[in-house]
C-alpha cells in the first residue's frame, strides 16, 4: 500500500557479484525468514492435521478447511468481520473526508500543526487508544457517567463488550490512515476549477457534486480500501472492546493460535483472511484504473 521503490535504471553500473551479494544478503535473509518463510509455513500448516504434522513434514489434509467451511460458527465469524469492516470503512471515510478537505484547502498558518494533530494518533499504540475508548464507552465510563449524572438514564447503556464498541473504536483508530490516504489522493482538487464553476452560475451543491466529489473520488476509494482491509484484520481492538463477545476473523485466529492451540485451524483462517485481503486489493486496483481512464 505504498509507492513502489523505483530506482533509476540508467547509469547504474553492472555490479561485481561479490559486493552485490554482501549488500543484498542481510536484508534478504531477514525478509525471507520473517516474511516469505512464514507465509509458506502458514500455507503448509493449513493443510496439516496437527501442529506437529505441520512442522515435521507430516501428512496433507483438508481437515482445517472443511472444519471452517462446514461449521456455521465460522460463517457467522466471516459475516461479522465483513459487517464490522464495511461499517468501519464507511464511517471512517465519512468522518475523515471533511478533515482531509479542510486540511487540503485551509489557508491557516496552523495548517502544519493541524495536519500533525490529525495523524498524531498513529504515534500511539492501538492498545492505548483502545483503552481510551474503554474509558469513554465503558459501563462506568464517560458517557454512562454523564448520562446518569444528568438523570437521563437510570441503568447502564451497554456500549462496550459488543460490536458497537468495537466498531466505534476501530473507526477512530483507523481515521488517521483514511486522512493520510485522502491527503495524498486529493492532488487533483483545484480551487480555481470550483471558482470557475461558481462564476458560471453553478450552485455550491452542484460545485461539490460535479467537481469536488468526482476529483476526490480516487483518494476516497483508497482511504476506504485501506481502512477496510485494516479493519477486517484487526484483533486487539475487537478483542478488548468486545470483551470476548465479538467474534471476528482476527479474534478467532488469535484464539485458535494461542488458546486452543489448533494451529492448522489458525493457519487455515489466516489463509482465508489473506485471500480476502488480496482479492479486495486486486479489485480495488481494477476499480481505480477504470476510474482514471
Amino acid at each position: 500500500m505504498s509507492a513502489a521503490v523505483t530506482a533509476p535504471a540508467s547509469g547504474a553500473p553492472a555490479a561485481s557479484r561479490g559486493i552485490l551479494l554482501i549488500l543484498l544478503l542481510p536484508g534478504l535473509v531477514a525478509l525471507i525468514i520473517t516474511f516469505l518463510l512464514p507465509l509458506l509455513w502458514l500455507l503448509r500448516a493449513s493443510f496439516a492435521s496437527s501442529a506437529v504434522g505441520a512442522l515435521s513434514g507430516g501428512d496433507w489434509t483438508l481437515e482445517a478447511y472443511t472444519t471452517v467451511l462446514f461449521d456455521p460458527f465460522y460463517w457467522r465469524v466471516a459475516w461479522n468481520t465483513l459487517v464490522v469492516g464495511f461499517n468501519v470503512a464507511i464511517f471512517a471515510v465519512i468522518l475523515s473526508y471533511p478533515i482531509a478537505l479542510f486540511l487540503v484547502r485551509t489557508q491557516s498558518r496552523f495548517r502544519g500543526v493541524l495536519t500533525a494533530l490529525a495523524v498524531a494518533p498513529l504515534l500511539t499504540s492501538s492498545v492505548v487508544r483502545t483503552y481510551g475508548w474503554m474509558v469513554i464507552l465503558g459501563d462506568r465510563g464517560v458517557i454512562n457517567s454523564t448520562l446518569q449524572s444528568l438523570s437521563l438514564t437510570d441503568g447502564v447503556i451497554r456500549l462496550t463488550n459488543n460490536s458497537f464498541g468495537a466498531t466505534v473504536a476501530l473507526i477512530e483508530i483507523l481515521m488517521p490512515y483514511a486522512i493520510l490516504a485522502m491527503l495524498s489522493g486529493f492532488g487533483r482538487l483545484n480551487v480555481q476549477l470550483e471558482e470557475a464553476a461558481a462564476m458560471l452560475g453553478a450552485s455550491r451543491l452542484k460545485v461539490f457534486t460535479r467537481i469536488v466529489l468526482p476529483l476526490s473520488l480516487p483518494g476516497v476509494l483508497t482511504a476506504a480500501l485501506l481502512v477496510f482491509v485494516l479493519a477486517i484484520s484487526a484483533f486487539v481492538t475487537p478483542r478488548l472492546m468486545g470483551g470476548g463477545r465479538v467474534f471476528v476473523l482476527g479474534t478467532e485466529v488469535f484464539n485458535e493460535a494461542t488458546v486452543t492451540l489448533n494451529w492448522p485451524l489458525a493457519a487455515a483462517l489466516s489463509v482465508m483472511l489473506l485471500v480476502l485481503f488480496s482479492s479486495i486489493i486486486l479489485l480495488y486496483q481494477r476499480a481505480l484504473r477504470a476510474l482514471e481512464v
Binding site: V5, A15, V142
Partner: protein, 264 residues
C-alpha cells in the same frame, strides 16, 4: 469555501472541530483519567493526584516490560536500518537480474495483514525454540520494519548527487572511504528517520508481539493488553500518558535534530 456565507463558515468550522474532538477523544480522556485518585475506572475524576503514576513506577511488571520494549525497539531500529541501507544501496546503485523480485519482496509485507504474518512467524520460530525470546521478537519486528527503512533510505539515497562520490573517487579516495565519508553522511536524515520509524513500530506493536511473546520477553503493549483483559483502572491511563509522551518526545527530538519532514 471562500465565498461561504457566515453561517456556512461557522457550521463548517464547528463540524471540523467536532471531528477533531472525536479523533483526539481517547487520548484526551486518558490524560484526564490518569490523574484520578480512585482505584477504579470512573468519570469525571473526584480529585486529582499523581497516585496512578506512582503506582506505575512501583509496578515491577510494567517497568521491566518497559526496559525490554526499549531494548527490543533499539535493536530492531539499528538492525532494520543497517539491512535497509545495504538493500537500498543495491537497489539504487546497481542493475542486476532479479531486481524486480527483490523489490517485490520488500514491498510485499505491506500487502499482508499483521495477524496473518504473526501466525506464520509463530509457526516458523516455534520449532527452533524462539517463541517468547528476544531473538524471536526482534526477528518478528524486522519483517514489518525493513520495508519502511528501505523506503526512507532509498528516497534519501536517490537525492544524493553521485557526482560528489565520483569526484572523491577521482581524487583518490577508496570506495570504502567514499561510503563512510560521503554517502553515509549525505543519507543520514533518511537513516535517522528510518531508525525512528522502526523503533516506534516495534515499541507500539501489539498484534504480532502477542503471538510471539508471553512472559519472558513480553513487551509493554502486550503487558497492557493482558492487564486490560481483567482491569481498566487508572494505572493504565498513567502508563498510556507516559507512552504517548515518549513517542512525542522521540518525534520532536528527531524533528529538532534533522528535521523529520526533510528526512521522510
Amino acid at each position: 469555501m471562500q465565498n461561504n456565507s457566515l453561517i456556512g463558515r461557522v457550521a463548517w468550522n464547528t463540524l471540523i472541530t467536532l471531528l477533531y474532538l472525536f479523533l483526539l477523544a481517547p487520548i484526551v480522556i486518558v490524560f484526564i483519567i490518569s490523574f484520578d485518585t480512585r482505584q477504579y475506572l470512573a468519570f469525571p475524576p473526584e480529585s486529582l493526584s499523581f497516585g496512578s503514576y506512582v503506582k506505575v513506577f512501583e509496578n515491577v511488571k510494567f517497568i521491566s516490560a518497559f526496559w525490554r520494549s526499549l531494548a527490543i525497539g533499539v535493536i530492531v531500529g539499528v538492525v532494520s536500518v543497517s539491512a535497509g541501507m545495504l538493500l537500498s544501496l543495491s537497489l539504487v546503485r546497481y542493475k542486476f537480474r532479479g531486481k524486480a523480485a527483490v523489490n517485490f519482496l520488500i514491498l510485499a509485507p505491506f500487502l499482508v495483514p499483521h495477524i496473518v504474518l504473526a501466525v506464520g512467524i509463530m509457526l516458523v520460530i516455534a520449532p527452533i525454540g524462539l517463541l517468547d525470546s528476544y531473538p524471536g521478537i526482534v526477528l518478528a519486528h524486522l519483517g514489518i520494519t525493513i520495508p519502511y527503512t528501505v523506503r526512507t533510505i532509498t528516497m534519501s539515497l536517490m537525492a544524493v548527487d553521485t557526482r560528489v562520490e565520483e569526484a572523491a573517487l577521482v581524487h583518490g579516495a577508496s570506495p570504502a572511504m567514499v561510503f563512510w565519508r560521503i554517502t553515509l553522511p549525505l543519507v543520514r536524515p533518511g537513516l535517522i528517520a528510518g531508525a525512528v520509524i522502526a523503533f516506534l513500530i516495534s515499541f507500539d506493536e501489539a498484534t504480532i508481539s502477542l503471538f510471539i511473546v508471553s512472559v519472558k520477553a513480553s513487551t509493554l503493549p502486550t503487558e497492557i493488553y493482558h492487564y486490560l483483559e481483567y482491569s481498566t483502572d487508572p494505572q493504565i491511563a498513567a502508563l498510556s500518558v507516559i507512552l504517548i509522551l515518549i513517542s512525542i518526545g522521540v518525534v520532536v527530538a528527531v524533528e529538532r535534530l534533522v528535521g523529520l519532514r526533510r528526512a521522510i
